[in-house]
């Protein structure tokens, strides 16, 4: 099953039509999500208007974690079945995931200033998200540190798999430690404890972020395939 899609040309043929679909889905969902964020979602009775930061903060934090898990799965597939396309997916995911993680840290600190009175606290969830950002940066640095791209893929794949240990720590940090960051209110046993008028904008924004991720991922993988074709052509020219 996997090997069928390891052929870059087949992948290109299948995924090219997806690019405009994902682009349009992102634009429409983002527009709908932003409209709901600013106009239909109510202001919080305690936090006032600043609760609207949540609709960017929470989806980007989810995506930061989601991208890491996706990267780890792709890295494992690349390592185990020597699937070259999975390596490219892992590589292409890293900067997107790092950007989402960074965005969630920045929006979180902007939200923290009016609510907690400080931009940053060394709370378990904040710290583990920061570690996630460092893991992304370490991955990208290791990826680029080798002359042979193949070695970069393998070495960084092992690093990603070692770092997976951080993912459950982030998810459960708010339950394990008594922290300033509020506990889980959407994905938890017994259903979400958040009101539907706030849940819906949140879900639409999350979907928009996800389609954005798929869109940029496809673009980046296409670019990587093109780059490796150029590299192969240059090598052939040089050796001819």
């Amino acid at each position: 099953m996997f090997n069928r899609f390891a052929n870059p040309n087949r992948f290109l043929r299948l995924s090219r039509p997806l690019v405009p679909v994902m682009a349009w889905a992102t634009v429409l969902l983002m527009a709908a999500g932003l409209y709901m964020t600013f106009f239909t979602a109510p202001a919080d009775y305690q936090q006032g208007q600043s609760v609207r930061i949540m609709y960017v903060h929470v989806p980007s934090a989810w995506m930061g974690l989601f991208c890491y898990v996706g990267m780890a799965v792709a890295a494992a597939v690349g390592l185990i079945w020597r699937h070259s396309l999975a390596d490219l997916v892992a590589k292409a995911t890293a900067p997107i995931g790092a950007a989402f993680t960074f965005l969630s840290l920045v929006t979180g600190s902007l939200w923290g200033k009016p609510m907690w009175g400080t931009y940053w606290v060394w709370d378990a969830r904040l710290t583990s998200m920061l570690v996630l950002l460092f893991l992304y940066l370490g991955y990208m640095a290791l990826q680029n540190a080798f002359d042979d791209p193949e070695r970069g893929f393998k070495a960084s794949a092992i690093l990603v798999l070692v770092g997976v240990i951080n993912v459950p720590i982030i998810k459960f940090s708010v339950d394990w430690w008594n922290t300033l960051h509020q506990p889980a209110s959407v994905i938890k046993a017994g259903g979400p404890s958040i009101h539907p008028s706030m849940l819906w904008p949140l879900l639409v924004m999350s979907l928009a972020f996800t389609t954005y991720y798929v869109w940029v991922l496809l673009l980046r993988v296409h670019a990587e395939i093109a780059a490796s074709k150029i590299r192969a052509l240059r090598m052939r020219q040089a050796s001819a």
Partner: protein, 221 residues
């Protein structure tokens, strides 16, 4: 087991004959700690408050300093390829080299730590906890660092890269190591922190040699 001991013995005798590695690590540890009284001022109360954290951070950096050479010299002179070809499982080889690394860096750090605790004005009640926390924590540092050292073989800018890879993974050890000492000094029960430190060590003990061996395999391929 014989092969394991042979590798440990080889690395130890290399460390002894090539001289100063352990001594330099300890000197770095001491100097890094001594910088703090100059940086934050010699106020005894302030020093006592930050002592545990400073000693832990300095120990962590000192342990990392010598990591780069863990596999690098063997990789360069080709003995790493012979080790991968040996009938011994590569995981055992990695574990042996990590044990040797801990004996030459972690152990001297533990021995030197009471001296630094005196210099940093750490509460005397915290000394045994400091030593115990370091004894549980530094093997984990060597184990996690071993994976990083195996990953950077043959890369450009290995040393800086190594710190970028390894330091984020060191954070849990640091958190629980420091809070164990702080809890003990504050008169609280520190058992939970020691159990977590032990748990990290027990998880790292089988997993890190495994990941390190995978990294070595792709480096010598």
């Amino acid at each position: 087991m014989r092969g394991f001991l042979a590798i440990v013995r080889r690395d130890l005798s290399l460390a002894v004959r090539q001289g100063m590695d352990s001594v330099m690590v300890v000197m770095f540890f001491v100097l890094a700690c001594v910088l703090f009284p100059f940086g934050v001022g010699p106020e005894p109360n302030v020093l006592a408050r930050i002592a545990a954290g400073v000693i832990w951070v300095a120990a962590l950096l000192a342990a990392m300093l010598s990591l780069e050479r863990l596999f690098q010299t063997d990789y360069e002179d080709g003995s790493l390829e012979l080790l991968t070809l040996s009938p011994l499982a590569l995981e055992v080889v990695v574990l042996a080299k990590i044990v040797a690394h801990w004996l030459t860096t972690g152990l001297p750090l533990i021995v030197a730590s009471p001296l630094l605790a005196v210099l940093m004005n750490l509460d005397a009640a915290g000394y045994p906890y400091m030593v115990l926390a370091l004894a549980l924590g530094t093997p984990s540092l060597s184990l996690i660092g071993g994976v990083g050292a195996a990953l950077i073989l043959g890369s450009r800018r290995g040393g800086v890269l190594l710190s970028l890879l390894v330091l984020p993974l060191y954070i849990p050890v640091l958190i629980f190591g420091v809070s164990a000492v702080d809890a003990a000094i504050g008169g609280f029960e520190a058992k939970a922190q020691f159990l977590v430190l032990g748990g990290i060590l027990l998880a790292a003990l089988p997993l890190c040699p495994w990941a390190g061996a995978a990294a070595l395999r792709q480096a010598t391929e």
